[in-house]
Symmetry: C2
Subunit: 423 residues, 2 copies
């Protein structure tokens, strides 16, 4: 069995040097065509492989999975089979797509049944999200926010370096890339001396994040150690944590963000497995002061994922507004999961845990308009000549993410959504 | 058709003056017996009526509901039938249980199949909770907390009287009454000058709350008005929002409570329908300053629900520590729901929205140990002679709730859980 991450592997399906989906990636998602019901697919190049038909045609015969797992509107039941099985499926797909394997390559009849161009299918929410948690784990982001709103000399709150601060978010309003939404309305207090007012949010922002998806459940009372955390992480997606800054400012004391966040979040459709990301692990921040033992970890646990944010005003081209990287995270996913369960909080398959805004150290790597324009004081220029302090009606925000090493590039596809005017 | 809330109704099943479940209540829940799978039941006196068998025997023939709705581990599919149908089922059950109706009364064979003593069945989670939100809507509670931790002269934060402050909580750790849990462990900072420490929570508290369950979904972008809110509320349960005060103090800035809450919440098993609660509506607080138009409402929207909290140390009798009332709420459920959706946040059937701690104006009506013992400065005496500042290992906390008017008493049953020592 070859290692499916081997940089030397090539596929008989042309993938191109800039494709997000070479044979080393093989992310899972849910798609449907005009004539098919929702089912599990794997991305390869600009195509998607229909796992339900693959299974029916006997390509996974040695793995033995009931086809209802594949003809499903969510990945949850598939993920629940366990990493040994899901990795086995990825390994088998890798084998079948490798240049020298004739099984599917030379079977045009089967290819016609199992391959679709991505442009011809509709991607759906990959998982049913039970609970969604958002962290606040980028030190540059937390420092920027603390500097703007509190005290530049004490930008980080006392707890920040001792635990990965997090809070619960709304699962129901997480939507798949391509889902437009209306600018939220709500209560804000634009004038300190006047009563609050009701109306459309004026300071609509994106937050560049990633999220990981729970792959193995725990029972109430159980904790997950940093050493075991990876067993519980199925994979990752890009995550846009849309934020209404003016609603947040007025509502969030003392119990945290609520309506400023729960009107919409957008995720990318392909779940990139933790296995596919392993070659791109990199060292994390040196954590000083030393963390408590339950948060200690060993090895390289950050991941080098380039992250781009682009704004596309209506009918014009995209403008890059941020180029960040997941490696800038102070707290790792393994620490986030260990902290989240240290009190016995139970995890379910499909639960989504987001990183918090991922800002790098330089202004061109900040992960939100709040930081990029420094509260609107430094507007950014679009290619069409217009300026942005925050996000305008009919703007589309696009996030892209990819890892690159040893000549291999694996990506996440797009996380994209358009803001419609308030209803 | 008689009004099922009519105080003059009696049942051929003996219910007793102090029963929570007279024929005027008829709450829905999920139960199983030693020999049966989970199914929907309705409480009557000290018995439970098996709706799956009732339907099979033809007692609901005019309503026509597929039996899979009743032989279900959650109420969600039943609730999704809509209020016209679920109220129709309640009306029909009321009819069948009324003293003068012979259909079931005189059919001993059917009775043997459809009635179980509650003491012989196991109650299960009534709904699959998608998202759980907790509000902070009791003015006495917010004032007490603000007085203790901030400024007695400005106890309420500036936003408190303008909007029902709320935050997202963890759905996965909501458990059914009777589920014990281990004292949570976590990070606290007992000494201001020292680094944080890891260990069992020392200040474990209950919070006396109720929660309402969403009965009609909305799509992303939709808002619910206060006038339409009741259409979207299926019913209510008692809710113990267990809280680790020392964990909360250290973690909650700036994004709100997280591990201090998500280790366990406990609910009562019977969902009392909004229809059954209607006779007990009462006037709410006069809201000054005037709220924004989207939060205005008309009519009596508070509900007179007596609420008791008792602590039972191991192997001894219960001690009443609080006698509060849901009528003390400043913000109504209708306002909470209008606020929650003003930004287009979508609601799903089974979503749970809790009140926040319900404290009354007097110390004996405070809804948490934090308030009752005023941060531990005024311990309360148990009947066995011991004292409590917070909740000890092996203590059981019991909440009970009931409405009483015109000789009718309808109740919620118990919300009860025991705290086991830290693992």
């Amino acid at each position: 069995m070859t290692n499916p991450n081997d940089p030397s592997l090539t596929s008989w399906i042309e993938t191109g040097a800039d494709s997000d989906f070479p044979v080393q990636n093989l992310p899972f998602g849910i798609f449907k065509t005009q004539s098919s019901s929702p089912r599990i697919g794997v991305a390869i190049g600009d195509q998607v492989l229909d796992l339900a038909i693959m299974n029916k045609l006997g390509f996974f015969d040695k793995i033995k999975i009931d086809n209802s797992v594949f003809t499903n509107q969510y990945l949850n039941d598939f993920i629940a089979l366990g990493k040994q099985t899901t990795s086995g499926v990825r390994d088998r797909i890798s084998q079948l797509l490798q240049s020298d394997n004739p099984e599917l390559r030379d079977n045009k009849e089967a290819q016609a049944k199992v391959l679709h161009y991505q442009s011809n299918v509709q991607m759906l929410m990959p998982v049913k999200v039970g609970d969604y948690t958002d962290f606040y784990s980028s030190i540059d982001h937390a420092t920027n926010v603390g500097t703007m709103f509190r005290d530049p000399d004490n930008a980080l709150l006392p707890n920040w370096k001792h635990l990965p601060v997090g809070y619960h978010g709304r699962a129901s309003s997480i939507t798949i890339s391509g889902t437009s939404f209306h600018r939220p309305k709500g209560q804000t207090k634009p004038n300190e001396a006047e009563p609050p007012v009701y109306g459309p949010c004026r300071l609509l922002d994106f937050e560049l994040e990633t999220a990981f998806i729970i792959g193995k459940e725990t029972q109430l009372g159980d904790s997950i150690s940093t050493a075991n955390a990876d067993e519980h992480i199925f994979g990752m997606v890009l995550f846009n944590d849309w934020s209404a800054r003016d609603i947040q400012t007025w509502e969030y004391v003392p119990l945290g963000p609520f309506l400023a966040k729960n009107f919409a979040s957008t995720i990318s459709p392909w779940v990139v497995t933790l296995e596919a990301l392993e070659p791109f692990r990199t060292a994390g921040y040196k954590q000083e002061p030393k963390v408590l033992p339950y948060l200690e970890y060993s090895g390289d646990k950050n991941i080098d994922i380039s992250l781009d944010v682009l704004i596309q005003p209506e009918n014009t081209e995209e403008t890059l507004v941020s180029h960040s990287n997941y490696k800038f995270m102070y707290w790792t996913m393994e620490q986030q999961l260990a902290h989240h369960t240290v009190n016995g909080c139970n995890m379910n398959i499909g639960d989504m845990l987001a990183s918090g805004t991922i800002s790098g150290p330089r202004p061109d790597s900040f992960g939100s308009m709040l930081e990029i324009t420094w509260r609107g004081t430094k507007p950014v220029k679009m290619k069409d000549g217009s300026e942005r302090k925050f996000i305008n009606d009919n703007d589309t925000v696009i996030m892209r993410g990819y890892c690159r090493k040893d000549g291999v590039r694996i990506g996440f596809g797009e996380c994209k959504a358009k803001v419609l005017p308030a209803k």
